[in-house]
């Protein structure tokens, strides 16, 4: 019976059913075939989303969108431009740097590619950067977002495993910074080789003004992070404090928010959250079916039967997650695979927090892996360049991302040092 579930899901995905509905459809067909009461569908949907920590997801999305309504993307880009624009290939560094700062606001890679790409790709093309390079940098840099806190995939991983959201946020910080710096180095070397343009150096005053403009958004990330780590707020409370903060800053500092556009932002954010929660609800049912069919144990036994060496197991998991991340949206893949693979990782003595970082990193690298990485598609459609060209130009960035993944996998301290430091 389990094959029906898998086949219907895969076929529906290939036929371009929305992922959430593909999951629901597969579950429906399975339940009918297995003669299980269909009331399980609303029951599991309800129990899947009736989780307090999930309330933080709409909170962070609303706060990010409210900040963006105040023209934050342009302000971050302008600040990075003053800071790094004078270096050869400065705009590509600005693209990556802005994604690192924007990461704390958007929290998802695809939205980062779309929002950053719509501003940066045309600007880079206008200054004489190759279109394929501009798209490749944008796609690669947007993968930094979901790992630097606050990270929606980390909240989902915490919900699925009962791990601390604060610890997961901290665990993603250093790998995220490593990824960002690695991508900047590659962009710089390519820019030097291709002799891409640079801007005149900005004055100290311009840099300072840029900093003041973006200071309020950066402060929001710190309030969230230190509020959670310091035990002042729960993740849900931190997200609502971020909403309140964004409302105050957007109204009094950026002066862009009014009653009408706040309602529009909230509606838009709740639609995004709803589409995620329908996915979470059906994934809860999907996961329940997998458990009743003993699939996690079977997969765990198969992997551990192949090898019980920690590094071989992690290598197999990495390969599986990158392959899945290539064609599947990060949160959907995490919802389905994380609980299963976490059991395997724990069996070979991998710290669950370390494993959560590995899993998220794998899935976001998949987003820029050819031939079907979702971020590559988004960037190539904005830049109007073929996916093949973007994939080729993105290859050096992919290599760096894989290098960071190997480091994070082999050296647990990269992920665990910060959470251990603050917990101790």
């Amino acid at each position: 019976m389990i094959w029906i579930l898998v086949i219907v899901f895969v076929v529906a995905l290939v036929l371009r059913y929305p992922i959430a509905f593909a999951l629901g459809l597969a579950c429906l067909v399975y339940l009918i075939g297995a003669e299980i009461p269909l009331i399980l569908m609303p029951m599991k949907m309800y129990s899947g989303i009736d989780v307090f920590v999930l309330l933080s997801i709409p909170g962070f999305i609303i706060a990010g969108n409210l900040m963006n309504q105040g023209g934050l993307t342009e302000k971050i880009i302008s600040f990075c431009n003053h800071l790094m624009g004078h270096i050869r290939g400065g705009l590509s560094l600005v693209n990556i740097g802005a994604s690192m700062l924007f990461a704390g606001i958007s929290g998802t890679a695809i939205s980062d590619t779309a929002s950053m790409g719509s501003v940066m790709i045309p600007a880079m093309k206008k200054e004489g950067y190759d279109a394929d390079f501009s798209c490749a940098v944008t796609a690669a840099s947007s993968t930094v977002g979901p790992i630097i806190p606050p990270s929606v995939p980390m909240i989902i991983a915490a919900t699925l495993s009962g791990l601390s959201v604060g610890k997961l946020f901290l665990a993603g910080a250093i790998p995220g910074l490593l990824l960002g710096v690695g991508l900047m180095l590659v962009a710089y070397f390519i820019a030097r080789k291709k002799n891409y343009p640079k801007h005149p150096k900005s004055s100290f005053g311009q840099v300072a003004r840029g900093f003041v403009d973006t200071f309020w958004s950066l402060l929001m990330t710190f309030i969230i992070l230190f509020g959670i780590i310091g035990g002042i707020f729960t993740p849900t409370e931190a997200s609502i404090v971020a909403v309140l903060y964004a409302l105050v800053v957007g109204r009094l500092v950026y002066k862009k928010l009014n009653f009408k556009n706040v309602q529009v932002v909230i509606l838009d954010s709740m639609k995004t959250s709803a589409s995620l929660m329908i996915l979470v609800g059906f994934a809860n049912l999907f996961g329940y079916i997998l458990i009743t069919e003993h699939i996690p144990q079977t997969i765990s036994n198969e992997i551990l039967g192949f090898s019980s060496n920690k590094y071989v197991v992690l290598l197999l998991i990495n390969l599986l997650l990158i392959a899945v991340g290539t064609f599947m949206e990060t949160i959907a893949a995490l919802l389905i695979l994380f609980p299963i693979l976490l059991k395997v990782a724990i069996a070979v003595d991998v710290d669950p927090i370390h494993f959560a970082v590995i899993a998220v990193l794998n899935l976001i690298i998949g987003l820029t892996t050819p031939p079907v990485g979702v971020c590559l598609f988004v960037a190539s459609s904005i830049g109007k360049v073929s996916i093949g060209k973007v994939s080729k130009a993105g290859f050096p960035f992919l290599l760096v991302s894989l290098g960071v993944l190997i480091l994070v996998t082999l050296i647990p301290e990269i992920s665990l040092w910060l959470p251990n430091l603050f917990t101790d």
């Binding site: 999930l54 309330l55 709409p58 309140l244 509606l267 709740m270 709803a274 929660m277």
Partner: protein, 154 residues
């Protein structure tokens, strides 16, 4: 009719979201003041969250591009097959959520005999959110079907 339903869902989403924000803020304010945090705030915020999600789920389908799908393979299909898919996918979504809504009614009736742990109200009220998800997604899937067939006849 369609406009009225859309408006009700929008108002429902906004009221539930502001309610959720107010509940969590109340929790925080009470914790940092002399007042004791009311025990019902967590439950109220969870229920408001589920309601906000249920009202917004249909609106998300109406606006398209919120429910992420995999485009990679679709782009390889020939235009005829793509046209068939564009018409059949809303039909399948309609059926999926019609079944969901039907069983959500049974779920609501099960909730009628349960009381919520801290607020003490009928759980059927809370479970009703699942019916809203089923019904609204079904409704907007139906509109997509009508739109797809009108496009063909035009």
């Amino acid at each position: 009719m369609r406009k009225a339903i859309g408006k009700i869902l929008k108002i429902g989403t906004l009221v539930s979201t502001w309610g959720l924000i107010a509940m969590v803020l109340l929790q925080i304010i009470c914790r940092f003041s002399w007042f004791e945090t009311p025990s019902w705030t967590e439950e109220a915020s969870r229920i408001l969250f589920i309601y906000a999600i249920s009202f917004a789920s249909g609106l998300a389908l109406k606006s398209s591009n919120y429910y992420v799908a995999l485009d990679a393979f679709y782009n390889m299909f020939n235009p005829k097959f793509k046209a068939v898919l564009d018409k059949s996918i809303p039909v399948v979504i309609f059926i999926l959520f019609a079944v969901f809504a039907f069983y959500a009614i049974r779920f609501v009736s099960l909730g009628m005999i349960e009381k919520s742990p801290s607020m003490g109200f009928n759980m059927g009220i809370s479970f009703c959110s699942m019916f809203i998800i089923g019904a609204t997604l079904c409704y907007y899937a139906w509109h997509k079907i009508v739109k797809a067939y009108k496009k063909k006849s035009a």
